[in-house]
């Protein structure tokens, strides 16, 4: 058994477990932490897939920035826990059933219909961190200039939007 394969299975297991944890943790803080772990696992996958740049971005932006923001809000609102018992008792079983079907469909698609024999190469191949990073940056400003600029606008809009929304709420309290 190859080391990477073992690593993959372990990480995959952790990723699935943390996802389940996210689903069922009573406390929002725990949920957030599960998600952080999950993101970390995905970051490991990225590394395994020879994408170190994105792995780093995953850790810093997602796990670092975004999840901290989440936690911050949880704390700010003091909304870690919600009372038990929903108004929608049938929602959960139906949702789980639907999810199971979705998963089954995905499995069927991947296993039965796609039947890809492709085996991905080791992380090491094609990898040259420095030049790859350079190349990517180059691409961002040439081929992907438009998406890049749009993303920047997007972030600006989000920022303005967030300000508008929260400032308004403050105004209301006054």
């Amino acid at each position: 058994m190859d080391f990477t394969l073992i690593l993959f299975y372990v990480v995959a297991g952790v990723a699935a477990a943390t996802a389940v944890g996210l689903l069922f943790s009573r406390n929002a803080v725990y949920a957030a932490l599960f998600l952080v772990l999950n993101f970390a696992c995905v970051a490991v996958f990225y590394l395994l897939l020879g994408a170190p740049f994105i792995a780093m971005a995953q850790i810093t932006v997602y796990a670092g920035a975004i999840m901290v923001l989440f936690l911050f809000v949880i704390m700010l609102l003091g909304a870690e826990k919600l009372p038990r018992g929903g108004i929608l008792p049938w929602q959960r079983p139906l949702a789980i059933g639907a999810a199971a079907i979705l998963l089954a469909e995905a499995g069927y698609l991947l296993v039965q219909r796609v039947q890809s024999a492709a085996v991905l190469p080791d992380p090491g191949s094609f990898e040259n961190s420095v030049s790859s990073l350079q190349q990517m940056a180059y691409l961002l400003f040439t081929d992907y200039l438009l998406p890049f600029e749009v993303t920047s606008i997007l972030l600006l809009v989000a920022m303005v939007g967030a300000i508008v929304l929260t400032r308004q709420a403050k105004g209301a309290q006054r």
Binding site: L146, L165, A169
Partner: protein, 484 residues
């Protein structure tokens, strides 16, 4: 190496102007004192108008930019004009309305402009990544705008519902793009279509990916069963936003659907037709049937909006049939245009009757309007008739064009469902008319210059253009999708 290609900028010039104007307006707004935010609106309108002028001025041009990520063709021009126009009308509706309701904020207008630019970008996008970003660029401002009525709970609830479900749907789009990429190794439509032709029979991954993309845009255009957010959001959002959303977001959603599916997935036609068929049929049925039960005019119009999405979806059924798809696309665009004019008019009337705290929105509040404001009631009647598809309104012409495309595509039974559901729709549209003219009441209405202008122009256009639709037909049929 890094070189600036003027052609790139040229291809999205109106968009660039729009975005730049919006950014500047954000700053300018800071210096416009509270209570005089009307200036921001006017400036924003100027921006949109300039952008529209540029679009129209370059109407004949076709080309692509940013290595094929965006294109400029008749299709994008048509939609850009439509979208910019709805942005303008959205501002016209918001102008007094937002102040009257106590929600006037300078940021409203730049944010609206950002959303418009997202929509325009969508109309031009020729790469799935751009499609995705455009989707977000148009959606995120809309989430904010929907919640702009904060702290009114309805508006916030609308914003959050829209946001959560929108993000949820985005997840499917992203996964869809992923699968398409997995199947073809490309995100550019041109490459995707090449790859699919090379493949011969479409791979299941491609099929599923396309289906997931369809789900995402189905959400945006409010197709059943992805429609459930629509009534709540339309109801909760400030009415001016609703009006803009109903037209703009729908237009953008259909822009993406049509461009992506017609250009990239023509080979999936055979597989997807039953799916779209079912979506269209369900959308028409559910939208129209539930609308009957509505008592709130905004919800009623929301369901009507769902139903109209269903009609347009009918044209979409023929997306892969090269013999008829040009006509189908043209009819869909024309119908969108008709819907835009009519629906803006109707929403304007709603605004004219809306009071603070969500009063004045029940259909019963329209009782006696025929006596109190004959012109307003007449305009509303025109809109209702147009939505039903009765002469002498554009609605009928739109249905004519649309149904011809559907029949031409051989989907006669779908057309039958279409006409039957439009019969159902007559029932609830008529109820508004009944209430206005045949029941007694003392409705309170507002007279505001831009608002009055909007509904009166819309009514006029709905009637007059129905007699002279040739130019519009020509324009729509010239809105050809191009692949570069």
């Amino acid at each position: 190496m890094m070189q600036f290609d003027p052609n790139d900028l040229n291809s999205i010039l109106p968009l660039v102007v729009l975005l730049g104007w919006a950014c500047v307006l954000l700053l300018v707004d800071l210096f416009i004192p509270k209570g005089r935010k009307g200036w921001t609106a006017i400036l924003a309108a100027f921006g949109l108008a300039i952008s529209m002028g540029l679009t129209l001025g370059r109407a004949g041009q076709i080309g692509s930019g940013f290595r094929g990520m965006v294109v400029q063709d008749g299709f994008s021009t048509f939609l850009a004009v439509l979208i910019l126009g709805s942005g303008l009308l959205g501002i016209a509706l918001a102008y007094d309305y937002m102040r009257r309701m106590g929600w006037e904020r300078g940021e409203f207008y730049p944010i609206l402009m950002f959303s418009v630019s997202g929509m325009v970008l969508m109309a031009q996008a020729a790469d799935l990544i751009v499609v995705f970003l455009a989707l977000e660029l148009l959606s995120i401002p809309l989430y904010v705008l929907a919640a702009f009525g904060s702290p009114r709970p309805d508006s916030e609830e609308a914003g959050l519902k829209y946001f959560l479900l929108g993000a949820f749907a985005t997840g499917f789009v992203v996964y869809g793009i992923t699968l398409v990429y997995g199947a073809t190794g490309a995100t550019a439509l041109r490459e995707i279509v090449d790859a699919t032709f090379a493949m011969g029979t479409p791979s299941p991954l491609l099929l599923i990916g396309a289906a997931l993309i369809m789900v995402g845009f189905g959400f945006k255009v409010a197709a059943v069963p992805f429609h459930m957010w629509t009534p709540d959001v339309y109801q909760g959002a400030p009415t001016a936003v609703t009006a803009f959303m109903a037209v703009g977001a729908k237009a953008a959603g259909f822009a993406a659907l049509l461009r992506v599916f017609v250009l990239a997935f023509p080979l999936l036609q055979a597989d997807l037709v039953p799916v779209i068929w079912a979506l269209a049929a369900l959308t028409m049925l559910v939208g129209n049937v539930i609308a009957i039960a509505q008592t709130n005019i905004k919800r009623m119009l929301a369901y009507s909006s769902i139903a109209h999405a269903g009609y347009i979806l009918m044209a979409f059924v023929a997306f892969g049939d090269s013999a008829v798809r040009a006509d189908a696309v043209a009819s869909a665009l024309f119908y969108l245009l008709v819907y835009a004019i009519t629906s803006f008019g109707a929403w304007a009337v709603v605004i004219a009757l809306e009071k603070k705290d969500g009063r004045g929105l029940e259909i019963t509040d329209y009782a006696g309007l025929g006596r109190k404001r004959p012109a307003l009631a007449a305009a509303m009647t025109v809109f209702m008739l147009s939505l039903t598809g009765m002469p002498p309104t554009l609605g009928l012409i739109g249905k004519f064009y649309l149904f011809r495309a559907v029949i031409d595509a051989g989907q006669i039974w779908l057309a039958v469902i279409g006409v039957l559901t439009s019969l159902i729709s007559a029932y609830y549209y008529l109820r508004v008319v009944v209430t206005m003219y045949m029941r007694e009441g003392e409705p309170e209405t507002t007279r505001e210059p831009w608002l009055d202008l909007t509904w009166s122009l819309a009514a006029l256009a709905t009637v007059v253009l129905s007699f002279l639709p040739a130019a519009l037909f020509a324009w729509a049929s010239g809105a050809i999708l191009r692949l570069f």
